[in-house]
């Protein structure tokens, strides 16, 4: 399945682009890079004001009841602007995980996730593995113990969905983070609020365990990967246009550098990567909850990561020296391309997952 956006979706895309463009401030984003623990509150205020935090929350819980397609469009606009506190994606992950919770837990968190009052994080990874089997963090008797490194938004999140071991089986649990100790990471992309979380008898609630937990965790990662793929497409496309404009304007050897095939073809190749990634992202978003979603999400993830990394590399190259300066700001995208490439699981994880889907996991 692949869709043509309807009028409401086109409006979301247009409006989110417009708002983020109007409020873009490169100096503010550059400043965030040099401060650990600071984040883009302006973006978050915008997200709340525009209702983006409520987009994919069920209507019964105060949300708008929309899904991956609409969230993807907002993510694409925020990717283009390297805007973004990281919560848009992880909040959605938490909303997804809460579908498995009881009504009381849903009523406790979903309305506040919709208003942006509560920030959620997803803490699956350990070591360099996005979904370790088995996880070393343990859950027993309503308490969570162990260590989760490099959690996106971990520095400020109020709750987290955690991949943990429970009675010899994998489990998904919801943990409150108020009393959890967090060690900020001085990162190359500081606005993402990466933190190491140390759980010591942290209060938590079991959502799912066993095979159901593994399945839900993969589905949640796939959903987040699709949102992120849109963000990556937005970033890659923005870089393509910036590089294109520069190539049309900058002259060398008596003509615009964009008249040289080495530059033209580099940009044409990039256009191809962006469009393939966009098509995959739209296709995957429209396939949510249907057979083939995992493979489609993997394809979207792989092609979007490739497109954004390549765009970051090539846009800087086309700009020459000016592309390497702090003030030029292209490194905002370069940094974001890499942090997004890691956040939802690296290429190696998704390549293996896709081949398992195609060839059978036993292969």
């Amino acid at each position: 399945m692949s869709i043509v956006y309807d009028e409401q979706q086109e409006a979301i895309a247009r409006e989110s682009r417009r708002v983020l463009y109007a409020r873009a401030d490169k100096a503010r984003l550059l400043d965030l890079l040099e401060r650990t623990g600071a984040w883009d509150r302006t973006f978050w205020d915008t997200a709340v004001e525009q209702g983006w935090t409520a987009l994919a929350v069920p209507e019964a819980q105060g949300g708008l009841g929309l899904g991956l397609i609409e969230l993807g469009l907002v993510a694409q606009a925020s990717g283009a602007a390297t805007a973004g506190a990281p919560f848009l994606t992880s909040n959605y992950g938490v909303v997804r995980a809460l579908q498995a919770a009881d009504a009381e837990l849903q009523a406790l968190w979903l309305p506040r996730l919709a208003t942006g009052e509560v920030v959620g994080a997803v803490a699956f990874a350990e070591g360099n593995a996005i979904l370790p089997a088995p996880p070393a963090v343990t859950f027993a008797d309503g308490r969570l113990n162990g260590h989760k490194p490099g959690v996106t938004a971990g520095l400020v999140a109020d709750i987290a969905v955690v991949w943990a071991e429970h009675a010899g089986e994998p489990a998904l649990v919801l943990a409150e983070l108020a009393a959890v100790s967090r060690q900020p990471i001085d990162s190359f992309d500081n606005g993402r609020l990466f933190a190491d979380l140390a759980f010591v008898d942290a209060p938590a609630t079991l959502l799912l365990s066993g095979e159901a937990a593994r399945f839900a965790a993969l589905d949640l990662l796939a959903c987040q990967a699709v949102v992120t793929a849109h963000e990556q497409v937005g970033g890659a496309e923005a870089l393509l246009f910036v590089a294109r404009d520069y190539a049309n304007e900058r002259k060398a050897f008596g003509q615009p550098i964009g008249a040289f095939q080495s530059v033209k073809h580099r940009l044409a190749e990039l256009y191809g990567l962006v469009e393939i990634a966009r098509a995959n992202a739209i296709h995957a978003a429209a396939l949510e909850g249907q057979p083939g979603f995992l493979a489609a999400a993997a394809a979207a993830r792989l092609s979007a990561t490739k497109a954004y990394d390549t765009a970051a590399r090539d846009a800087v190259q086309v700009h020459g020296g000016i592309g390497t300066t702090w003030e030029g700001g292209l490194h905002l995208h370069m940094r974001r391309a890499r942090s997004l490439a890691i956040e939802q699981g690296n290429m190696l994880f998704w390549e293996d997952l896709l081949v398992d889907e195609l060839a059978g996991a036993g292969a």
Partner: protein
């Protein structure tokens, strides 16, 4: 079920019913003449069943449906290995351009029906030794003679000229005019006095499909002219727009990802299963992700067409991206087979056989727009980057350094 989906099922049912007669297996081991005869018979069967000229005007023998119906039929047809190659240029380019520009309408209608029913085949005489990607570099000469014209020169890479009854041709009527201005467009009887066709044997075997064509004082009536005198280049460009919508193959007309996965499951690398080898897995995943993207682009374009919208320009990526990826995947498949990959069956199909796919891949990257030309087109037409430096611009053709 949507009307289009119903059409797809109807097409599939018909294709299944004739596959035992015309499909891949039925064509195994046929001689060139037998294969062509099968092609004509299949085209005739399509015409009789109402699957020829799907989006053409019923007045001209067509079915009066939309381009979307045509693409749907082609998508279904692709998997069966039917002998359709002879009619691609004929029905996709040459006959439509004749229908649009021919002066004698009744004659054009006769030709259209003969072509749709497989009785006549048309070729397109564009490329020359001195002009392929640079079409307007062509040198075949057409001069006025009496109340008509006289044609001399040579064309190259002409697909199925050896089986063609007619062709459309662009030639230079005025070498003193600017390069793109001195060209005129005609149709031509391929059996006329002075036309000589010589098939070219390509590195990738199979039956010959391209030719060189020589013209020695070939006489043309002025009624065969399809463009204003000196206005042929615009007509040639119009031919490129006729087949904007045709079925594409994300596998680049080579074997599918599933075929590669089967090979990997059946192979070992240094004593370990190949399907567990990271290099092989990475190649599968990346190639599949790219192909899924191309497929999604096509699906979205079809949905836009169904909704009466104009699909975006990203459809132009298909050939560029898919064929070179097929080339590399075919190399890797032969690597995987090792010594078992040395065998070569000259009549094997590129769609099923890795060696055939690898050998024929270069043709796919050059014919119908070389990769480099496609990149230029994307850069200029879609991204708005400048044209290359062009020393031939604004210079009379006979003063351009040869």
């Amino acid at each position: 079920m949507s009307e289009i989906e119903a059409y797809r099922q109807k097409a599939r049912a018909w294709l299944q019913s004739v596959a035992p007669t015309y499909g891949r297996d039925a064509l195994q081991g046929l001689s060139e003449a037998e294969h062509l005869a099968a092609g004509r018979a299949y085209q005739r069967a399509k015409f009789a069943a109402g699957f020829a000229g799907i989006h053409w005007d019923p007045e001209l023998g067509g079915q009066g449906l939309t381009p979307l119906h045509k693409v749907v039929f082609e998508q279904e047809e692709m998997g069966f290995g039917m002998p359709i190659a002879y009619f691609g240029v004929s029905l996709g380019i040459s006959v439509p351009i004749v229908l649009r520009f021919a002066q004698d309408r009744a004659w054009a209608r006769e030709r259209a029906i003969a072509a749709l029913s497989g009785d006549e085949i048309w070729c397109q005489l564009f490329s020359e030794p001195s002009g392929g990607s640079d079409l307007a570099g062509l040198r075949t000469k057409v001069e006025t003679e009496g109340n008509g014209w006289k044609l001399n020169g040579q064309k190259l890479w002409t697909t199925f000229a050896q089986h063609s009854d007619y062709g459309v041709i662009i030639a230079r009527n005025d070498p003193k005019a600017l390069k793109h201005k001195g060209l005129t467009f005609f149709w031509l009887d391929m059996k006329a006095q002075g036309v000589t066709v010589r098939p070219i044997k390509l590195a990738a075997a199979g039956h010959d499909h391209v030719n060189e064509v020589f013209f020695d004082d070939v006489r043309l009536d002025d009624g065969q002219r399809l463009s204003p005198v000196g206005g042929g280049f615009a007509t040639a460009m119009a031919t490129l727009m006729i087949e904007r919508y045709s079925a594409s193959d994300p596998a680049g007309f080579g074997p599918t990802t599933a075929t590669f996965v089967e090979l990997a499951k059946a192979s070992e690398v240094n004593g370990r299963p190949a399907i567990q080898d990271g290099r092989i897995r990475s190649a599968i995943a990346r190639s599949h992700a790219m192909r899924m993207g191309l497929e999604a682009i096509t699906t979205r374009a079809m949905r836009m067409m169904a909704a009466g919208m104009e699909p975006g320009p990203e459809g132009s990526l298909n050939k560029l991206v898919s064929v070179r990826s097929r080339q590399k995947l075919s190399e890797l498949a032969i690597d995987l087979m090792g010594q078992l990959g040395l065998a070569w069956d000259p009549l094997a199909s590129s769609k099923d056989d890795w060696v055939a796919s690898w050998l024929a891949a270069p043709t796919g990257r050059i014919a119908g727009g070389a990769d480099e030309m496609l990149l230029n087109t994307i850069a200029e037409k879609i991204l708005g980057l400048p044209q290359d430096h062009r020393p031939d611009k604004g210079v009379p053709f006979d003063q351009i350094p040869a």
